[in-house]
């Protein structure tokens, strides 16, 4: 095996990695400001904005075993088994440099011949069955942490307020009216989709179709257009401390100027990660087995939108449907909405049923 380029490959074998930063500033002002930029990549919101502006764990190299497997594949050899992790000791046995630079604790462990260091897979949810080890990390536990200690209603998180420099950059980027691309006789072709069904953001199409009743799509489109203009004119929301939005949310004052982002932020923040599938007869004795199933992006958004639409429909206010819907979207962003409880409940059920996940995987049905 050729020597890996990573100087500290032993670090890769630990499941405990730094958590993604809570809020990466400004993912929004990316180079192309076209609304459609997210069409092909609906996850764009959660990604880092610029190539030179990386989050703390975004420059990771491949896992050492993956690298070895790829290398072996190129060379036509049989690489390591990718289903199981590679113990540190195994790597250190082969790599002299690594062994030399390893921390003292690891060296001592090696000497004692202790076999405690067991490789884990990256995901915290799937690990820890039957090994009797302590769980080092749980995404759900972390997510609920800020709620539990939400005693002090102080000021907003510093990261929510844009710095002066950020403001300047954002304004410059978003509002420049100068010609781009000098040196070309004609502007370069844009990669916007040309098919009529793809000209809108996927979230708008999905919302329109969810609002539509009796096949009256133009009426649904009217509602969505009214929703977006209402979001434009309502006062900027105040972020809640207890309900963190997606990492990388822009400063609240910028949301009304980008209503599609406003809506996307609300929907994606409150979208559940999983749903419960009831497998009849799997638990034995006629009891349905509650199996948490991860959801795809569209499914997650669908669940969130349905909740938001339900909540808006139940409002007893006098305004039109679009105004009520806009009010609910603002409530979600401000953390006032009851939709957050629904998300929490869905996740709690997922936690309760998480031991059922592996049971199905073994083909017990």
């Amino acid at each position: 095996m050729p020597p890996p380029t990573n100087p500290t490959p032993w670090l890769r074998t630990f499941a405990l990695r730094p958590r993604r930063t809570a809020r990466v500033a400004f993912p929004i002002h990316n180079a192309s400001l076209r609304h459609n930029s997210s069409t092909n990549n609906p996850d764009a919101l959660t990604k880092a904005p610029k190539a030179d502006q990386k989050g703390p764990n975004m420059q990771q190299q491949e896992h050492v075993s993956e690298e070895a497997a790829q290398m072996a594949k190129i060379q036509g050899k049989e690489g390591p088994d990718m289903d199981a992790g590679t113990p540190v000791q195994e790597i250190m046995a082969e790599e002299k440099d690594v062994k030399k630079n390893a921390p003292k604790v690891v060296k001592e462990e090696m000497k004692q011949g202790h076999e405690g260091v067991e490789a884990r897979t990256e995901t915290a949810v799937s690990g820890g069955v039957g090994s009797g080890q302590k769980r080092g990390f749980s995404t759900i536990a972390r997510r609920r942490m800020p709620e539990l200690d939400a005693g002090g209603q102080g000021q907003l998180d510093v990261s929510m307020i844009p710095s002066k420099a950020q403001r300047a950059v954002y304004t410059q980027d978003a509002l420049s009216t100068e010609e781009s691309k000098p040196g070309h006789k004609f502007p370069l072709p844009t990669t916007t989709p040309t098919h009529k069904n793809e000209r809108l953001e996927p979230i708008l199409t999905q919302l329109t179709n969810l609002i539509m009743r009796d096949g009256k799509k133009s009426l649904a489109e009217k509602h969505v257009a009214a929703l977006l203009s209402t979001l434009r004119t309502l006062p900027a929301p105040k972020y809640s401390e207890t309900r963190p939005l997606l990492p990388g949310a822009p400063p609240a004052s910028h949301l009304p100027l980008n209503p599609v982002l406003y809506l996307t932020l609300a929907v994606d923040s409150v979208a559940p990660l999983l749903k419960i599938r009831s497998q009849r007869g799997a638990a034995g004795g006629g009891v349905a087995l509650q199996i948490p199933v991860p959801l795809g992006l569209r499914q997650r958004r669908r669940a969130a939108m349905t909740w938001i639409l339900d909540a808006a429909g139940k409002k007893g206010t006098r305004e039109g449907f679009a105004q009520r819907l806009a009010g609910e979207v603002v409530a979600v962003v401000e953390g006032r909405s009851g939709v957050w409880e629904k998300r929490q409940a869905a996740h709690r059920l997922g936690v309760v049923g998480r031991s059922n996940v592996m049971g199905v995987g073994r083909g017990r049905r």
């Binding site: 400001l33 076209r34 609304h35 978003a174 509002l175 420049s176 009216t177 100068e178 010609e179 781009s180 004609f186 502007p187 000209r199 809108l200 708008l204 489109e221 009217k222 969505v224 257009a225 977006l228 203009s229 434009r232 004119t233 309502l234 006062p235 900027a236 009304p256 100027l257 980008n258 139940k314 007893g316 206010t317 006098r318 305004e319 039109g320």
Partner: protein
């Protein structure tokens, strides 16, 4: 011959009609009928009380002129009076601002709001403050306004229109609004009929009045409303003018009452509205005494009507023989048509403008033909012929015999760029305004129809 109905049964059935709480026949249900029994609350409903009468309409028609989220546009110049003065013969200073957006100051905005110049379908609610694009036709209009103030007191009488079916959102109503704004800046008196439809769709009370030329129908409530608008919008100007003649009015009026107060009298009482309207117009059409400064001074008058196609055919009102009443037999539309055709002169100068409405277009084929004909003659083209198998509306033809026609085309690309830059600087349009982008949107907007341009750029792109 024995009757087929037993008399006793007939009487009983008549009795039941008379004693019923509801009138036997009435077109005005809300006046005659008793209130319907109250519902006990819909099962499973939210329990909120139903909206009051007119509440939802008020919400729908609400005019919002500001959006605090929108960015303040730096370097936005105001539409001021000094831009309306003669620059060179044939042009005004405003000509230099073609393709730019100019803001409206607060005083003008208040007056425009009082006149109901703003419409809820226009995108005023998205920007920090009202501002309007100066297009080539605006500069042309400003020039005509300047002509009306000159020595000749040349009164332009013009119909602003677009080709039927394809000119929706081309800026006809905003053109009227710009005319109002310019007239305010020049201290003209402005009278505006916001919707001709409101006058002709039989939603407001009417009553016949016999005149030497035949029966006409006055609409007292509408007149009172119109007088209220005039009083509010022209408050400053009217309070400086006084009644100068003796009028035959139902109530005694102080001889030197200010016109503002006089108009308000009519606005308060619908029964007084029509005589006061007539007296007001007698005052306004009295020539100023230009030789002496202390003599009578009367301002130029701008009279406008939006959606004029609704007033160019039979109205929905019926006369005593249940024949439809022609819109020109209603007193207020007739008054406007007399001004438009030039039958009533404006000796102090002024302008008469009418705009058609394409989103709720009435079938007024005579008007369409007349406008097409005028337009062809203006452009030295062959005028179209009237279909001899269709009846021509003589009243409409007479009204449009001697008017100008202004067919509003789409914006030029320079103008489109100007307005798109304003959108971008307001933070509503989130793209870089490039040549390609302007061309794309201009084309999507049907060669620069400004309403469509607005939809393509700042509304959701459905």
């Amino acid at each position: 011959m024995a009757s087929s109905i037993c008399l006793r049964c007939l009487r009983r059935s008549l009795q039941s009609i008379e004693s019923s709480h509801r009138a036997a026949f009435s077109t005005s249900a809300s006046f005659s009928a008793a209130a319907p029994p109250k519902k006990q609350g819909a099962p499973g409903g939210t329990g909120a009380r139903p909206p009051a009468a007119g509440e939802r309409k008020a919400l729908r028609k609400r005019i919002v002129l500001s959006n605090t989220n929108a960015l303040q546009v730096e370097g936005l110049e105001d539409f001021t009076g000094d831009k309306l003065v003669r620059h060179e013969p044939g042009t005004v200073t405003l000509d230099k601002f073609r393709g730019q957006v100019l803001g409206l100051d607060d005083e003008t905005v208040d007056a425009l709001r009082a006149l109901e110049s703003f419409k809820s379908t226009q995108a005023w609610s998205l920007f920090r403050r009202p501002a309007t694009l100066i297009r080539a036709e605006t500069a042309q209009l400003a020039n005509q306004l300047a002509n009306a103030e000159g020595d000749g007191k040349e009164v332009s009488r013009m119909v602003i229109y677009g080709s039927p079916g394809s000119s929706r959102g081309s800026g006809k109503s905003v053109m009227l609004l710009q005319a109002h704004a310019m007239a305010f800046l020049k201290d003209w008196l402005v009278v505006h009929f916001p919707e001709a439809q409101d006058l002709t769709n039989a939603h407001t009370a009417y009553q016949p009045v016999t005149t030497p030329t035949g029966t006409i129908y006055i609409q007292t409530h509408y007149t009172a409303k119109l007088l209220a608008n005039i009083a509010r919008a022209n408050q400053k100007l009217l309070s400086g003018l006084q009644l100068s003649q003796q009028h035959r009015l139902p109530i005694p009026v102080q001889a030197n009452i200010s016109l503002s107060r006089f108009v308000e009298l009519g606005a308060q009482d619908p029964d007084l509205a029509w005589p006061i309207w007539q007296a007001l117009w007698l005052e306004l059409t009295t020539p100023s005494q230009s030789e002496s400064k202390d003599g009578l001074q009367r301002p130029p008058v701008l009279v406008t009507m939006d959606g004029v196609d609704q007033a160019m055919r039979s109205s929905a009102y019926l006369d005593s023989e249940t024949n439809p009443i022609h819109a020109h037999d209603l007193a207020l539309p007739r008054h406007f048509m007399n001004l438009l055709s030039g039958q009533t002169k404006l000796p102090n100068g002024g302008m008469v403008l009418a705009a058609t409405c394409d989103s709720n277009r009435a079938a007024a084929s005579t008007m369409d033909h007349c406008l097409a004909r005028i337009s062809a003659i203006q452009n030295n083209a062959q005028p179209p012929h009237w279909d001899p198998f269709v009846a021509k509306d003589a009243k409409v033809e007479a009204a449009l015999k001697d008017v100008q026609a202004l067919k509003l085309p789409g914006l030029s690309k320079t103008e489109a760029r100007g307005v798109m830059e304003y959108y971008a600087r307001s933070g509503m349009f989130r793209h870089t305004v490039t040549e390609g982008m302007v061309s794309e949107k201009w084309t999507l907007a049907g060669s620069g129809i400004i309403g469509e341009l607005e939809r393509a750029t700042i509304r959701a792109r459905f």
